[in-house]
C-alpha cells in the first residue's frame, strides 16, 4: 500500500460538491526542545468589580471570561476585590503555603529513598487550597482531588497523621489500603480521596443537599483539575447543583496540564473552564489561582452567595502545575524545561511574601526564620511518623484487609481471612 493512500483524509472521494470535512487535534504551543512561550496567555487588563452576591446571570457573565486579581504585578493591591485581610491572617496564609511546600519536598524525598511508593506535590498551587480553607468555615466539608493537601495543612491537621498515611505504616488510619496522599480526615472536613477522577464532584453536591435538607449550616466545596472536567461527574455536579440550587462551591483547578495533556485537550483552547458554569445558568468566576488574596476573595463571594440561598458557584483557579504530575512522572518528556519559571502569574508564595514585605508586614529575615522553623517542624514530624514504620516495615496487620468491606464481617470474608491464616 502506498503511503499516499495511507493519508486518511485523501481516501474517500468527495463527489458531493462539498469540500472534504476536517477535524482538528489541539497541540500546545511548545514541546520539549523548543523554548517555553506563554505569549498566548493574555491576562485581562480590565478589572471587574466585585458584584453583589445576589447578582443575576447576566450581570455575572463576564466573570467567567475575565480574571479576578487582587495582588498586582507590583505586589500592591488592586482594590475591587480586596478582602481587607489583617496582616496576621496573611501571615497565617503564608505559613500554611510554605509549610505545604516544605512538606511536599520532604515527602517527595521520602519517595525517592523508598520510604513510600508514590507521591504527588502541589507545587505552585499552594494558594488555592490554603486560601480556600481559610475562607471556608473549619467545618465546611471539602471534597478534594489529590492536589489539595493544603486544605489539611491550613486546617492544622497533624502532619504526622498525613505522613503515616503516605508511609502506609502502622498508624495509617486508612490501614495501608490507599495510595499515598489519598488522605481521609473527617474531623478536618476532608473527604476520602478516591483515585477515580471527578467522582467527588457530584458527591459534594449530594452532601450539600443533605446539609441543606437537615437545616445544617455546613457548606460543601469540591475540587477537580482542568483535565477532569471532561468526566461525567463534572456534568452531573453542575446539573444537580443548578437544578436544586445547592449550596456548594465547585472549583476547577486549571493548572494547564493533565499528566502529559495540555488543557486544550479538555477544551481549554476554545473557552475558559469557568465558562462551563454559564451553560448551566450558574455563576462562573475565573480567578488568578496564584494570588492568595484573589482566591480568598472569590471564595468568600461564592460562600456568601451559597449562604444567601442562591446556590452554587463554579470557580476556575488559573494556575500552573510547576512540578511533575506525580513521582511516577517526568514532564521533560512532554513540555519544555523551565516552563514553570516563566509562568506569567508567578509563584503564589513569593507573591504573598512580596506583598507582605511591600506593606511593611514581613521581611526576608522573618521569611528565612519561618522557613527554618517549618523545615524543622516537618523534619521532626517525619521522624515521628517514621517511628511508626515506612512502606514495608511495620504496618497494620494483614488481617485488617478484610475489615471495612462491609460494616460487619460477612461469613465468606471470615472464611477467606482464615484461609490467609488470621
Amino acid at each position: 500500500m502506498s503511503s499516499a493512500s495511507l493519508n486518511p483524509e485523501a481516501s474517500v472521494a468527495a463527489d458531493s460538491g462539498h469540500q472534504p470535512l476536517r477535524f482538528y487535534v489541539p497541540e500546545p504551543k511548545c514541546r520539549p526542545g523548543s523554548a517555553p512561550d506563554f505569549s498566548g496567555i493574555q491576562l485581562p487588563t480590565e478589572v471587574l468589580p466585585r458584584p453583589p452576591v445576589d447578582a443575576s446571570q447576566d450581570q455575572l457573565h463576564a466573570y467567567a471570561y475575565g480574571l479576578i486579581r487582587v495582588l498586582g504585578d507590583d505586589h500592591k493591591i488592586i482594590d475591587e476585590w480586596n478582602p481587607q485581610l489583617d496582616a496576621n491572617v496573611l501571615r497565617k496564609g503564608l505559613r500554611s503555603m510554605l509549610l505545604t511546600r516544605i512538606y511536599d519536598q520532604r515527602m517527595l524525598r521520602a519517595q525517592r529513598t523508598g520510604k513510600t511508593s508514590f507521591y504527588m506535590q502541589c507545587t505552585g498551587e499552594e494558594a488555592i487550597a490554603v486560601a480556600q480553607a481559610m475562607a471556608l468555615e473549619p467545618d465546611d466539608m471539602c471534597f478534594p482531588s489529590y492536589r489539595q493537601q493544603g486544605l489539611l495543612i491550613a486546617r492544622e491537621w497533624p502532619l504526622v497523621d498525613m505522613m503515616c498515611q503516605v508511609y502506609n505504616n502502622s498508624e495509617d488510619r486508612m490501614k495501608g489500603r490507599q495510595l499515598p496522599v489519598f488522605y481521609s480526615a473527617k474531623k478536618a472536613g476532608f473527604f476520602s480521596i478516591s483515585g477515580n477522577l471527578g467522582t467527588q464532584f457530584v458527591q459534594a453536591v449530594g452532601w450539600a443537599m443533605a446539609s441543606a435538607y437537615k437545616g445544617d449550616t455546613r457548606l460543601a466545596a469540591a475540587w477537580v483539575g482542568d483535565g477532569t472536567t471532561a468526566e461525567a461527574d463534572f456534568h452531573y455536579a453542575l446539573t444537580f447543583a443548578a437544578v436544586y440550587r445547592v449550596p456548594v462551591l465547585l472549583n476547577v483547578v486549571n493548572n494547564q496540564w493533565a499528566i502529559s495533556s495540555f488543557q486544550g485537550i479538555a477544551g481549554g483552547e476554545v473557552t475558559t473552564f469557568a465558562a462551563r458554569a454559564v451553560g448551566y445558568g450558574l455563576p462562573g468566576l475565573r480567578v488568578d489561582g496564584n494570588d492568595f488574596l484573589a482566591v480568598y476573595a472569590a471564595t468568600k463571594w461564592a460562600i456568601a452567595r451559597a449562604r444567601a440561598g442562591m446556590g452554587a458557584t463554579v470557580i476556575e483557579l488559573y494556575t500552573y502545575r510547576a512540578a511533575a504530575h506525580s513521582s511516577s512522572d517526568d514532564p521533560s518528556g512532554y513540555r519544555p524545561e523551565g516552563e514553570g519559571a516563566l509562568w506569567p502569574l508567578g509563584d503564589p508564595i513569593e507573591r504573598l511574601k512580596q506583598h507582605l514585605i511591600a506593606i511593611g508586614e514581613w521581611s526576608q529575615e522573618q521569611h528565612d526564620a519561618l522557613t527554618s522553623e517549618l523545615t524543622e517542624e516537618v523534619k521532626s514530624a517525619g521522624k515521628e511518623a517514621e517511628s511508626f514504620g515506612t512502606l514495608g516495615s511495620k504496618g497494620t496487620s494483614p488481617s485488617t484487609m478484610f475489615d471495612d468491606v462491609y460494616k460487619e464481617l460477612p461469613q465468606h470474608l471470615r472464611r477467606q481471612r482464615q484461609q490467609l491464616g488470621y
Binding site: Q178, S184, S192, A232, Y236, A237, F240, Y406, K407
Partner: protein, 337 residues
C-alpha cells in the same frame, strides 16, 4: 392482614421508613409528583413533601453520585433507577465509590444507600427493558445485592436494605409486581391477592438480608433461584412431580451458603435457575460454591437453566425466558443422571 401486590408492598416499605426516620429521602426519575413509572412511590411526595420525595434529572450516575454524598453526610437515601438496563451509567459511582468508600477511608465514611431498580423480562421490553444484571453487582465487594420474589419479602427486605449501613442494590423483578407469574404466559394472569405471601403487615417489620428461604421443602433435588424464577421453579416442581426443594435466595450477597449446603447435602442434586444471561451469571458462582462445598455429596452434575447468552429479544421473549418447561427438563435430567 392486608393483601398487597409487590408495588404496594414496596410503597409501604418506603412509607414506613419515611415515617420512622427523617434521614430517609427518595429521589429518582419520575418518582416525585407522578409516583414512578411503575407507581412504586405513588402518594409519597404528597404525604412527605417535595424535599423528601422528588424527581431527579435523567442522570443515573448523578443520582447515585449525589446519593453517595448524602450517605456520607449521614442520610439514608433511597434512589430509583427506572430500569436495571439503565444502571450502567451509575456503574462507576456504585463500584468505585459506594462500594469502596468505607474501606478506603478506613471506616470514616460510608454510603448507606439503597438503589432500587426493576429488572427482568417477560413484559415485551426488548433488549433495554428486560435485563437482569445482578451478577455484576454481586462481583463488586462492598455492595449487597437483593432480589425479592413476593410482596411480603419485598417489603421486609427493602426496610432491611434501607436500614443497612452498607450500599444495597435492590432488584425488583417487574414481571411479578402484580402477580406470582410462573412462566405460563399463555395462561390467565394471577394476582397477588389470595397468595400467602401477598399478605403484608401494614407497619414495620424486616426480612433480614443474607437469609435464604426454603419455599418448598423436598428431598430429590435442590433448586436455587430468586426473583421471578422462584415461581417458575415452584411450577416446574409441581408439574414434573419431582420432589424438589426450592430455595429462594432473596439475597445474593451476602449469600446464605449454610441453607444451600444443608439442602444439597441432603438431596445430592442441584439445579440453578436465573433469567440473566448464562456466562458469568450468578448461577456460575452458585455452581462453583455448591461444587466446592458439596463435592462428595453430588450425584449428578449441577445444572444451570438461564437466559441465553444473547440480548433479550422482544418478539421471541418466551423462547428466551427460562420457563417451567426448561426447568422441568433440567430437573428430569438431573434425576435421571
Amino acid at each position: 392482614m392486608p393483601s398487597m401486590n409487590m408495588i404496594q408492598a414496596l410503597n409501604s416499605a418506603m412509607d414506613v421508613m419515611l415515617e420512622r426516620d427523617p434521614d430517609v429521602l427518595i429521589f429518582g426519575q419520575d418518582v416525585g409528583y407522578f409516583g414512578g413509572v411503575f407507581r412504586c412511590t405513588a402518594g409519597l411526595q404528597k404525604k412527605y413533601g417535595s424535599k423528601r420525595v422528588f424527581d431527579a434529572p435523567i442522570s443515573e450516575g448523578g443520582i447515585v453520585g449525589a446519593a453517595v454524598g448524602m450517605g456520607a453526610y449521614g442520610l439514608r437515601p433511597v434512589v430509583e433507577i427506572q430500569f436495571a438496563d439503565y444502571i450502567y451509567p451509575a456503574m462507576d459511582q456504585l463500584t468505585s465509590e459506594a462500594a469502596r468508600l468505607r474501606y478506603r477511608s478506613g471506616g470514616e465514611f460510608s454510603a448507606p444507600i439503597t438503589v432500587r431498580t426493576p429488572c427482568g423480562g417477560g413484559i415485551y421490553g426488548g433488549q433495554t427493558h428486560s435485563q437482569s444484571p445482578e451478577a455484576m453487582f454481586a462481583h463488586v465487594c462492598g455492595l449487597k445485592t437483593v432480589m425479592p420474589s413476593n410482596p411480603y419479602d419485598a417489603k421486609g427486605l427493602l426496610i432491611a436494605a434501607i436500614e443497612d449501613d452498607d450500599p444495597v442494590v435492590f432488584f425488583e423483578p417487574k414481571r411479578i409486581y402484580n402477580g406470582p407469574f410462573d412462566g405460563h404466559h399463555d395462561r390467565p394472569v394471577k394476582p397477588w391477592a389470595g397468595h400467602a405471601l401477598g399478605e403484608v403487615p401494614d407497619g414495620y417489620y424486616t426480612v433480614p438480608l443474607g437469609r435464604a428461604n426454603v419455599l418448598r421443602p423436598g428431598t430429590a433435588v435442590t433448586v436455587l433461584c430468586y426473583g421471578t424464577m422462584v415461581h417458575v421453579c415452584l411450577a416446574a416442581a409441581a408439574e414434573s412431580g419431582i420432589d424438589a426443594e426450592v430455595i429462594d435466595l432473596r439475597t445474593l450477597m451476602p449469600l446464605d451458603l449454610e441453607t444451600i449446603e444443608a439442602s444439597v447435602r441432603k438431596t445430592g442434586r442441584c439445579v440453578i435457575v436465573h433469567e440473566a444471561t448464562r456466562t458469568c451469571g450468578f448461577g456460575a458462582e452458585l455452581s462453583a460454591q455448591v461444587q466446592e462445598a458439596c463435592f462428595i455429596h453430588l450425584e449428578a452434575p449441577i445444572e444451570r437453566v438461564t437466559g441465553w447468552d444473547t440480548p433479550y429479544p422482544l418478539a421471541h421473549e418466551w423462547q428466551y425466558f427460562p420457563g417451567p418447561a426448561r426447568v422441568s427438563e433440567a430437573l428430569t435430567r438431573v434425576m435421571e443422571f
